[in-house]
């Protein structure tokens, strides 16, 4: 299946479809990179809900959580389910996506809001290393999923909600 992949890297790899400079709070400049394709394009690449990636998005802040390979809980673990329920109750202003690198584990998350949002209550922050960054127009707003369904559709990163991926 074709996926949209993202990674937060120090520099853009040559094979990236797009690379947008971003500012990571407390760390400095980095690059948000995207690819589209069936195969995992980079060791740090994560599949994302494809609706979030677009052109000329508004200035946003993001809460970016990344989990190392040996720290990734099962996507259907109770604590991950509860984090998804929490997001359904209170959807971030500009959207959110889990990040995955396979069909069974959670590999990260991204929550999006207006510039300056702090995301102090990001329910995924407990799972890994959380970074705050400005997204530089890479993402576009996506409204909340319908709910209450919160399962993955054909392995796509939640909340993508069609079986056509």
């Amino acid at each position: 299946m074709t996926r949209t992949w993202v990674a937060l890297l120090p520099a853009a790899p040559a094979d990236a479809d797009r690379a947008t400079p971003v500012e990571v709070e407390g760390e400095g400049p980095a690059v948000l990179v995207t690819w589209t394709g069936k195969h995992h394009p980079h060791p740090q690449a994560r599949a994302i809900d494809p609706r979030l990636v677009g052109e000329d998005g508004p200035d946003m802040s993001a809460s970016w959580v990344e989990l190392n390979d040996d720290e990734q809980p099962l996507f259907d673990a109770p604590e991950v389910l509860e984090a998804r329920r929490t997001l359904l109750r209170q959807w971030p202003d500009y959207g959110a996506s889990t990040l995955v690198s396979d069909s069974v584990r959670l590999a990260g998350s991204v929550l999006l809001g207006p510039a300056g949002s702090r995301f102090d209550d990001d329910p995924f922050a407990r799972f890994g290393i959380r970074k705050r960054l400005r997204t530089g127009g890479m993402f576009v707003p996506v409204p909340a999923p319908t709910g209450p369904a919160l399962e993955r559709y054909a392995g796509a990163p939640w909340p993508y909600d069609r079986f056509d991926s």
């Binding site: 109750r89 409204p143 319908t146 709910g147």
Partner: protein, 190 residues
């Protein structure tokens, strides 16, 4: 009781609601629900077809936060959401409450599905769902529609009287029937 069953059994004793004799064509089995477009609790304009996507969906019209019958019925739905969340099944609730009021009501209910807001009463008459006996709130009639992904009606229930609303078990049966019809792998692949 489903609306088409209700119509067949409604007596002429006047006990039924003013709406019992006014079956809207779109609510008949296989009728098509108009593709409503209304703001959600965050103020984002949402189209019903996008919200339904490819899944069985409960389209639930309710009077408003003020009605104890609605609050009681939401208890049933919030219990059922724990099953729907793992069953690729969606809920959409619609009222004349504003986004701000709906957001607070939804949060208080602990509901995890989309609430649509029609404070301008845009669809009350188009759908034929104006509750004429409440001239204070001018709300929607309480109606539950179980939709297929193409917005066609599998079943419709009119809940002017509380017992007209579908039980959780009736909704499960409806969701099962729609899921069986729309999932090509209902019989598990071998």
């Amino acid at each position: 009781m489903r609306i088409h069953d209700q119509a067949a059994s409604t007596s002429s004793d006047g006990e039924g609601s003013p709406a019992d004799h006014d079956i809207r064509a779109w609510m008949a089995p296989n009728g098509l629900v108009p593709d409503l477009e209304l703001p959600d609790v965050d103020g984002h304009s949402r189209k019903l077809s996008d919200l339904v996507g490819g899944d069985p969906t409960l389209l639930h019209f309710y009077r408003g936060f003020f009605c104890p019958k609605e609050r009681q019925y939401f208890r049933l739905l919030t219990a059922l959401q724990d099953e729907a969340e793992v069953a690729y099944t969606r809920f959409v609730s619609v009222s004349v409450d504003s986004p701000e009021v709906s957001a607070a009501f939804r949060a208080g209910l602990n509901a995890r599905w989309t609430f649509l807001c029609d404070p301008d009463r845009r669809y009350l008459d188009e759908l034929g769902l104006r509750e004429t006996t409440d001239t204070v709130h001018d709300p929607y009639l309480p109606v539950c529609i179980v939709l297929r992904p193409d917005l066609s009606v599998h079943a419709a229930y009119q809940g002017y009287w509380f017992w007209g609303r579908p039980t959780a078990e009736e909704l499960r049966q409806d969701f099962r029937a729609v899921t069986r019809a729309v999932r090509p792998d209902w019989d598990a692949p071998r």
